[in-house]
């Protein structure tokens, strides 16, 4: 664990000897690392190195398709009311994928709002959790839209279809949808790759603000983005974790030649 003693933030999730298989193809190979709570951790690496695959293990998305297999542990640390820390293996067959998805939200590469109203998009996750009261829903939806820096742009048209929004607004709506349920971790998979530079910088600012509330894992292809928004950076190559450290360290003084080659743009 990098700089373990210097970071006061507790560990939020611990990946231990973790591998992932699509059928017989091993896409993630023996990865071990720990994510800090309320930090932004970036996953970088060349196309096909397994970033998305690793990210989607955290909310058990791979369970939706047959033939996928997890091996090893991803331990989620959660503070209990009593002040102690509860440990739960996210990828254990005994852990319910539904529960993990309720506690860990995801924002996808392409904005994918539901073809429903803006309000319903944000409220849906809350409804799934049994929230019925109109007043509560309205309050939580507004708070989520504010947190996603979208409230001022949509407050007068909450009942309009989400597909009337611009691409960048749709992505912030998806972020609001992910935040409304007060998750412990938010997973971002290249959230700005389908957006223009202005929409991108808005989302980067947003992620910067969010770090105070929630633990963030973000996959990105954009080296500048990783450098701008993240506290920690993990560099993956061909399914393996090559280097994991403070972002400043990885970018300024990488410990491995491969990392150095990648961030200086010599491949990928």
């Amino acid at each position: 664990m990098p700089d373990a003693d210097l970071d006061p933030r507790p560990v939020k999730a611990e990946v231990r000897d973790f591998s992932f298989f699509y059928g017989t193809f091993q896409a993630v190979k023996n990865v071990s690392l720990s994510f800090r709570e309320k930090a932004v951790t970036a996953l970088i690496g060349p196309s096909g190195c397994g970033k998305t695959t690793l990210l989607r293990c955290f909310n058990r998305m791979h369970d939706l398709y047959p033939g996928n297999r997890y091996q090893g542990d991803i331990i989620l640390h959660s503070a209990t009311d009593g002040g102690s820390t509860q440990h739960l293996n996210i990828v254990s067959p005994k852990t319910s994928p539904i529960e993990m998805r309720m506690r860990i939200s995801m924002v996808f590469q392409k904005p994918n709002p539901f073809p429903k109203s803006i309000f319903e998009n944000v409220a849906y996750g809350l409804r799934l959790r049994g929230l019925r009261s109109r007043r509560d829903l309205e309050g939580r939806v507004e708070a989520a839209l504010r947190n996603a820096a979208l409230w001022d742009e949509v407050k007068d048209r909450l009942n309009q279809n989400a597909y009337g929004l611009s691409g960048g607004q749709q992505q912030r709506l998806c972020i609001a949808r992910a935040l409304a349920v007060e998750p412990e971790i938010v997973l971002f998979d290249e959230p700005t790759s389908a957006l223009d530079p202005i929409a991108t910088s808005k989302i980067e600012e947003l992620i910067d603000d969010l770090r105070e509330r929630v633990t963030i894992l973000i996959v990105t292809h954009n080296m500048q983005q990783a450098a701008r928004v993240s506290d920690y950076t993990a560099f993956m190559y061909l399914g393996e974790m090559i280097e994991y450290d403070r972002t400043a360290k990885v970018f300024q003084n990488p410990g491995k030649p491969l990392t150095e080659q990648y961030i200086s743009g010599r491949f990928g």
Binding site: P66, I98, S105, F108, P113, F114, G125, C174
Partner: protein
């Protein structure tokens, strides 16, 4: 070796020829349809009036009407829709979202495609054995409606599957990622987003069913009915009718009534048949129109 000009000229010629052939064939098709329609309208329109719609059939052609036939058609369609929609949609959802892809489901899929091609009279034979003799539903509206439901079930299943398959996978993932169960994904997303496609398929299927004659003749629908099925809660012979008794009533439908009139000698009954044909065509065409409108609406509303 041809010069460039010659190649282009040749291409032009092919273009012209194909255009003319296509145009001629289109005109022949449309012309045939126009003549058919004209004949039907010319023979039937003079007979078409309110009395014709509100009278029972009669031995005197001028007094005969299609009341029992169109009421029968509507009621049979109600039963057909009430049976085929839930069964077909459920089967379509199951095959698309729940069933694992293995040899067994492939077998089911192939058979559903085959079922759509089975001649309708075969359905009539099956219904005669199963519904009339085995379940003792009688030669009733219930039997007729369920028979036609079997007939259109493959169409409804295929329409449902196609409508659901057209929903992009990232829509499902968005819902699952929020913690939805499979059933919640189906109920809150897949069915609402595919409802346009499904209703289009259902209406087209019903417009096919409403013109079916052979399976209903096979199960023993009557050709001459001079009464209506008992209305729920009305009083017949001093007794209050139950809410579902009409289901067990004998019936006839428009195409059977038409068939009956066509097979009689004399121009008068032929005019009646043509008039009934106009009503049937109008019903079918307006159903197709509704389907087109729904499809256009949904296409404008749902996009991803």
């Amino acid at each position: 070796m041809l010069t460039t000009e010659q190649v282009i000229a040749k291409g032009r010629l092919h273009d012209r020829v194909f255009f003319l052939v296509g145009l001629t064939l289109t005109i022949i098709c449309l012309g045939t349809l126009a003549v058919l329609l004209y004949n039907l309208l010319a023979a039937g329109l003079p007979r078409l009036n309110l009395d014709f719609l509100t009278s029972f059939p009669s031995r005197r052609a001028a007094k005969a009407g299609i009341l029992s036939a169109w009421v029968g058609s509507v009621l049979v369609m109600l039963v057909t829709a009430a049976t085929a929609i839930p069964l077909g949609v459920a089967a379509g959802v199951y095959l698309e979202e729940y069933a694992r892809k293995n040899w067994f489901t492939s077998l089911i899929e192939v058979n559903i495609a085959n079922l759509a091609g089975v001649p309708s009279i075969i359905y009539g034979l099956m219904a005669l054995g199963l519904l009339v003799y085995q379940f003792r539903f009688g030669q009733s509206i219930l039997t007729g409606g369920v028979t036609l439901a079997f007939l259109i079930l493959p169409i409804v299943i295929v329409a449902t599957r196609e409508a659901i398959r057209a929903i992009p996978q990232h829509m499902r993932e968005a819902a699952y990622a929020l913690g939805a169960t499979r059933w919640q994904v189906v109920k809150d997303h897949l069915l609402p987003y595919s409802s346009g496609g499904i209703s289009t398929g259902v209406i087209i299927a019903l417009s096919r069913a409403i013109g079916e004659t052979a399976p209903l003749v096979t199960i023993g629908a009557l050709t001459y009915i001079a009464f209506l099925p008992p209305a729920p809660f009305s009083t017949v012979e001093g007794r209050v009718v139950g809410p579902t008794e009409w289901l067990m009533s004998p019936f006839t439908v428009l195409p059977i009534q038409m068939f009956n009139w066509v097979s009689r000698p004399g121009d008068d009954f032929a005019a009646n048949a043509a008039a009934a044909g106009i009503v049937l065509m109008a019903a079918t065409l307006s159903m197709n129109l509704v389907a087109i409108v729904i499809r256009a609406r949904v296409r404008r509303r749902v996009k991803w």
